[in-house]
């Protein structure tokens, strides 16, 4: 019997929705508010939205973005929540928040904003520093009177169902105001949920939250601030407004804390947001004079460089390969992902969650390629070698994992997980973009062979093995690089901005000092990009 409206149920969450025939499963999931990974934005490229469907007429694994519903369906989601990075190196700071208690016990804002009167006696004065990432939101709840940390909480960014990377989300938002608002609403839902959970976790009422400091990349902050995003989608990728921004939480529809003032620091540029500025603040850019470079690798790679008075904020299009997208067995860093690889007489892997390996995430990819280079399974041009060309010291067990499948050679890491020649090429493209960018900006400075501390920030930077990143040349080929992992530097910076009003002024000055460049637009980027395509021939 033919129907126009069909019922779709999603498991294990149990959400139900009725949609018209012809809707894709991914669209239905979005309507039902189900978190479904679609890193490529639903274009059928990444294969991450594979779901198992059951109906009276069919059963099997299909891509949610490309499958049109024709009858009542039950959909089983295979994806697991990603691993979230909460910790960031914190810096000691003198407590001097924007909101203070006056002599008579009244509250005031240093910037002069009027505050709503206290709701009740014995009010605590709380603030939240929030780092909105592309995949996750992290909130730090502080007591602003004594500077104590009360809670840290995180949540998945609900916008993910509209694409894992920002460009996909921009693409979706540009299709109409309705889409834009959907994206914005998903973000607000995640944010409000997070704030509520954060306060609940320590049994404190949300009414006491007086200030929010929110940092994030430029496009997501545009969604949050309800600003138009057209300019961010096309060259020259300019923000609609640069900031800084003070808004009431009420006008931004942060409904859980309508009484709060919300501060969003300025953007450095279209691809380098307030999160990067916060990270730079936390890592003492502009304060300590020694050379430093902060690198945050995502779909978009951000490179902050300080050499003397010169402050540069650059971005490069790394693409999603290092996040596991476009890799045949790639996946995000969630349960089942191979996150560590060592090769000795055989393959040793660590799997997130400890169970069976179902894919490989970015840190695992870097490990695997670094180890394959060490054993001579890949030559420096990136070519995967057949067993007959592998050095004799390599054990037969490793050699047996080099399998020819049709025209293509692959290296088998686990029962269901392998790396193909194509995957290695995809990683080369991504790493050449990051390393090419780094080499380009370094080449313009007087750094030459001086030691350079490289601060690896963000989720990916915190989980990768720095030695292996150096082995594959992810950070370029500059000698004397000293990589350090600094965790969620943006979150740490947001905390500084919350606890110290002078820090905000410093950050705003720092933002002015940064020269912002989108390196892909520059003529000589191609030369550096191609130069960095090969892998280093030796250990650093």
């Amino acid at each position: 019997m033919h129907k126009d409206i069909v019922k779709i149920s999603f498991h294990p969450g149990g959400q139900n929705i009725e949609v018209s025939v012809g809707t894709t499963i991914l669209e239905a999931a979005r309507l039902a508010g189900v978190n479904m990974a679609a890193p490529c934005g639903g274009t059928g490229r990444c294969g991450r939205c594979l779901v198992k469907i059951f109906s009276t007429q069919r059963e099997g694994w299909l891509l949610a973005c490309k499958t049109v519903v024709t009858d009542d369906l039950s959909v089983e989601l295979a994806t697991q929540p990603p691993v979230i990075l909460e910790t960031g190196e914190t810096t000691a700071v003198t407590l001097d928040p924007a909101i203070q208690r006056g002599d008579k016990g009244e509250l005031y804002h240093q910037k002069g904003f009027p505050l709503l009167p206290s709701a009740n006696q014995g009010e605590e004065v709380l603030g939240l520093a929030i780092d909105i990432g592309t995949t996750t939101l992290v909130a730090y709840l502080y007591n602003l009177l004594d500077g104590s940390l009360l809670a840290v909480n995180s949540v998945v960014n609900g916008q993910q169902i509209f694409g894992a990377d920002v460009i996909s989300r921009l693409g979706y938002a540009l299709q109409g105001q309705e889409n834009y608002q959907k994206l914005r609403q998903r973000l607000l839902d995640s944010l409000n949920g997070l704030i509520e959970r954060c306060c609940q976790s320590v049994g404190i009422t949300t009414e006491w939250v007086r200030e929010l400091v929110v940092v994030g990349n430029t496009p997501i902050m545009h969604f949050f601030l309800n600003l138009p995003v057209q300019g961010l989608a096309v060259a020259p990728f300019e923000p609609y407004q640069k900031g800084p921004f003070y808004r009431t939480a009420a006008e931004l529809e942060v409904t859980t804390v309508p009484q709060a003032i919300c501060y969003v620091p300025p953007f450095i540029g279209g691809f380098v947001g307030s999160d990067a500025l916060a990270a730079a603040l936390a890592q003492k850019f502009g304060r300590e004079v020694t050379e430093r470079m902060l690198v945050d690798i995502g779909t978009n790679g951000e490179i902050l460089l300080q050499v003397g008075d010169y402050l540069l904020a650059a971005s490069v299009p790394a693409g999603p390969a290092l996040e596991g997208a476009g890799i045949e067995c790639g996946m995000v860093a969630s349960v089942g992902a191979i996150s560590r690889v060592t090769l000795d007489y055989d393959v040793q892997v660590e799997v997130i969650g400890g169970g069976r390996a179902t894919g490989i995430c970015g840190s695992g990819l870097i490990d695997a390629i670094a180890e394959m280079l060490r054993l001579g399974l890949i030559d420096s041009s990136g070519k995967l070698l057949p067993p007959s060309q592998v050095p004799p010291i390599v054990s037969f067990k490793i050699k047996q994992r080099l399998k020819q499948v049709g025209e293509n050679l692959r290296f088998v890491l686990a029962e269901q997980v392998y790396l193909s020649q194509k995957d290695i090429r995809a990683v080369q493209l991504a790493k050449a973009a990051v390393a090419g960018g780094i080499q380009l900006v370094i080449a313009e400075t007087s750094l030459s062979n001086k030691p350079l501390s490289v601060l690896l920030a963000g989720g990916f930077g915190s989980y990768l093995n720095p030695s292996n990143a150096l082995r594959i040349g992810l950070l370029g080929t500059q000698p004397n690089m000293n990589p350090q992992q600094v965790g969620n530097a943006a979150g740490a910076g947001a905390v500084l901005l919350l606890l110290s009003y002078p820090s905000r002024q410093r950050a705003e000055r720092l933002c002015q000092q940064f020269i912002h460049r989108e390196l892909a637009a520059e003529a000589n980027f191609q030369t550096f990009f191609l130069e960095q395509m090969a892998f280093p021939t030796e250990e650093w």
């Binding site: 059928g44 540009l174 096309v234 299009p317 004799p392 037969f396 090429r425 250990e539």
Partner: protein
């Protein structure tokens, strides 16, 4: 009756051929334990032995290839090891006696691998071999033959067990594949080096391949040892015919090769799978008149990893022993050893070998750590990663023993010294596990002040080593470096001791060079100067940091100056390699001879700097520009495209080849302009409005031009209006659009619509990271290409 030891020194011996196939012909059912027939069918076993004896074999091998506990367990016969082996030896001896022939007890591999390659521990393997060897020795076997071993680690365990089982000669026979290595990668020289010191009387090669494929292995083996050599090939390569494995080499051919092997220096000849008494008889007849070829080669001190031998020759190149796998003064490495990790260890091992270390010293001396476990972990981590042999650095005999057990090669022990306690504990370990030694010139009285006294300690060390039956060339003497700032008089004594020990004792020498500079500023400078003085005095090896470029340069230069790098060959090779810079193509291309081949190779290797020269020379030699294009350049770029498609080449190689082609076209332009137009079509190329990512488009631009298209490259961030105007103005055949971002590819359908609207006759093809085949179809494009190579093919298709 003469013993094996006596006979093998005097005559060419013939050993028997296959046993298994002959038993099958006599009714052994498949799946039945062949070794069990020693008890149930003794008459059949003796019949086979007799056939080989009649054919002329001097040695027959017992039917015990699989009579070891773990293999018998497959048939539930694990408790009959002793019975089956002793029955086999007794049967064979009975038959052999009237012929005056010898009985070799055959022992095959366990069929499982030793740690770290497999699951069996050294001790477990040792126990199994010991049990089988003991049974045979008790039954009076004349010699033990370990045959068909593909893993040197297992062979070591077997030989150590055999030595403990009793005083019987032992032959170690390996099986090599067509690449000339054993299954776990050991080459013939390394196999010889490792087993020579484990008490073997002969070294052998058997099975796997036929005599033709073994020729090279046998030759290399004869040049790697002075021990007698056994060769028992299969009767050819195994072939599958109607589900049966057959071997097809004739007895005559086997005999011809046996004669050749004797000429190389082999002295025990026989056959393995597929050979019959006929083959053995032919070999017997072939070698009857031949005599032993004496071999008396000097080898120096040799140590080996599983796959490679390092030689320290008193007259050859001095070598560097990498010192960095030593936690002294290294906090990160200390922490790693405590935590039971090997990350730094592995990286430092690789880096040192890349920097030129021939041997790696391994030391795990961290306080409060179980060093036995730590040493085993470190040795296992390094021995599956780098091919440099290891030097086991410890004073604790237990730590050294654990390392030697687990090391699948011949290690160097660092160190023994003249103290009685050291001699009593370390020397037996070297003997038992077949290791070489570094001997320190100190004894119970401490470090002697003078060179003469150090020579005396060295002499004592040498005598004690030889008393145990270890050849003296396996002892290298460290004459000890004192700190020059504290004891300036010590330097000449150390250097003189090197001279005396080399001259009087004929031993090799080594030093831990960097001790000399302790307490002084700019230590590297002192180290380098002292090192060159020591090399001048004749130093053969130094324990140093190979990543210290000055030290390695000093080593290479001094080798030339002291005449140890003959004709400076290694020095020149290294310097030339350093000048060569980065070669993009990994595999060396075949040497080109004709001008066309040179040009073809220039395109493949992306030699844009020299291609114009090559073209000029080709034209001078009388070739026409058209010929260059059709017979060298175009086939070259097409091959590049093929290699790119196959994953062999990547973007840099593609781009280099493309630029080489561009240079070629520029050079040939005047000549080609005179001929007929070869233009395939005109392509308008652009990255769409709003998008600034143009690397892929730039590569396509070069590739299209190289394949004969006229390319109008409008650049990036190009408005559709401009694209249309260009298409009209140039009467384009194709518009090719690229977009990297999903937010900008939306300009593509608009462009297609405009082209249709304007009624332009050109085709539109699309590509770029954001674009998919499906998207191209949705927007009505005429084609989609994944990459530049695909795009060239698509463009060609669209214009014809």
């Amino acid at each position: 009756m003469l013993s094996f030891q006596d006979r093998v020194k005097k005559e060419i011996l013939v050993i028997d051929g296959a046993m298994g196939t002959l038993l099958q012909q006599r009714g052994l059912p498949s799946g039945w334990c062949p070794d069990e027939w020693n008890v149930s069918h003794p008459e059949v076993i003796q019949e086979v032995h007799r056939l080989y004896l009649e054919a002329g074999a001097d040695i027959i091998t017992t039917n015990t290839f699989g009579a070891i506990r773990s293999k018998l367990a497959d048939y539930g016969l694990e408790d009959r090891v002793k019975e089956l082996n002793q029955a086999a030896v007794t049967l064979a001896k009975e038959v052999a006696k009237p012929y005056g022939a010898l009985v070799a007890g055959s022992i095959g591999p366990l069929g499982k691998f030793l740690q770290p390659l497999g699951e069996i521990s050294f001790d477990e393997a040792y126990q199994q071999f010991l049990e089988q060897c003991r049974a045979m020795v008790e039954a009076g076997v004349d010699l033990i033959l370990f045959e068909t071993f593909g893993d040197i680690g297992e062979m070591r365990a077997a030989l150590i067990a055999a030595a403990d089982a009793g005083n019987v000669p032992v032959v170690a026979s390996f099986t090599f594949d067509e690449s000339g290595r054993t299954f776990t990668g050991t080459d013939p020289e390394t196999a010889a080096v490792v087993v020579e010191r484990l008490g073997v009387s002969a070294i052998g090669v058997n099975c796997s391949v036929g005599p033709r494929q073994l020729a090279d292995v046998v030759q290399r083996l004869t040049q790697s040892t002075n021990l007698p050599i056994l060769v028992s090939p299969n009767a050819g390569m195994p072939e599958m015919i109607e589900g049966q494995t057959v071997f097809r080499e004739t007895p005559e051919l086997m005999a011809d090769y046996a004669i050749r092997f004797v000429e190389y220096g082999a002295s025990i000849l026989g056959g393995c799978c597929g050979t019959t008494p006929l083959h053995i008889n032919a070999i017997r007849q072939g070698v009857k008149e031949l005599t032993l070829k004496p071999r008396h080669k000097l080898f120096g001190l040799r140590v080996a990893s599983r796959v490679k031998t390092a030689t320290i020759d008193p007259k050859g190149m001095p070598i560097a022993i990498g010192e960095r796998l030593n936690p002294t003064g290294k906090k990160a490495l200390q922490a790693e050893i405590r935590e039971g990790k090997t990350e730094i260890t592995r990286r430092d091992a690789l880096a040192q070998v890349a920097a030129g270390a021939a041997i790696l010293d391994v030391n795990v001396g961290v306080g409060g750590v179980d060093q036995v476990t730590a040493m085993e972990r470190a040795v296992n981590a390094v021995q599956v990663l780098v091919d440099a042999p290891l030097c086991i650095d410890s004073t604790d005999p237990q730590v050294i023993e654990q390392a030697l057990k687990n090391y699948h090669g011949k290690a160097l022990i660092n160190s023994v010294n003249g103290e009685e306690k050291s001699l009593a504990t370390i020397l037996p370990l070297a003997k038992r596990y077949g290791a070489a030694l570094i001997g320190l010139t100190l004894d119970d009285q401490g470090i002697p002040a003078t060179a003469k006294e150090r020579l005396a300690v060295a002499r004592k060390l040498m005598q004690r080593v030889e008393e145990l039956g270890i050849p003296k060339q396996d002892l290298m003497i460290d004459t000890l470096v004192l700190t020059v700032s504290a004891q300036p008089e010590g330097v000449p004594e150390t250097l003189n001791a090197i001279r005396y020990i080399k001259k009087d004792l004929g031993l090799t020498t080594s030093l831990g060079v960097s001790n000399v500079s302790f307490g002084l500023p700019n230590r590297g400078l002192i180290n380098t100067a002292f090192f060159s003085m020591a090399l001048a005095a004749g130093l053969d090896a130094a324990i140093l940091n190979p990543q210290d470029q000055r030290m390695m340069e000093t080593l290479r230069a001094a080798a030339v100056l002291t005449g140890r790098d003959v004709r400076a060959e290694q020095y020149i090779a290294r310097e030339q390699a350093a000048q060569g810079g980065n070669q993009l193509s990994a595999a060396p291309e075949p040497v080109a001879s004709t001008p066309l081949e040179v040009l073809y190779q220039a395109v493949l290797s992306g030699d844009k700097d020299n291609v114009v020269d090559h073209i000029n020379k080709a034209i001078d030699s009388g070739l026409s520009p058209m010929e260059l294009l059709d017979k060298a350049l175009i086939p070259g770029i097409e091959e590049v495209g093929r290699r790119y498609g196959a994953g062999i080449y990547f973007l840099p190689q593609l781009m280099m080849a493309g630029e080489t082609m561009t240079k070629s076209f520029e050079r040939l332009k005047p000549e080609l302009a005179k001929g007929p137009s070869r233009k395939l079509g005109t392509v308008i190329l652009a990255t769409v409005k709003g998008d600034i990512h143009d690397i892929g488009k730039n590569i396509l631009s070069v590739m299209l031009a190289n394949h004969g298209f006229e390319v109008i490259d409008l650049g990036k961030n190009v408005d559709n209006q401009e694209i249309l105007q260009a298409a009209r103005a140039h009467q384009a055949d194709i518009i090719a659009l690229s977009a990297l971002m999903t937010t900008t590819m939306v300009h593509m359908p608009d462009c297609i619509a405009k082209v249709k609207e304007a009624g332009l006759p050109c085709k539109v093809m699309v590509g770029g990271a954001a674009v998919t085949d499906q998207y191209a179809r949705e927007i009505g494009a005429d084609g989609y290409a994944f990459d530049a190579v695909e795009a060239v093919g698509l463009a060609k298709k669209l214009v014809c």
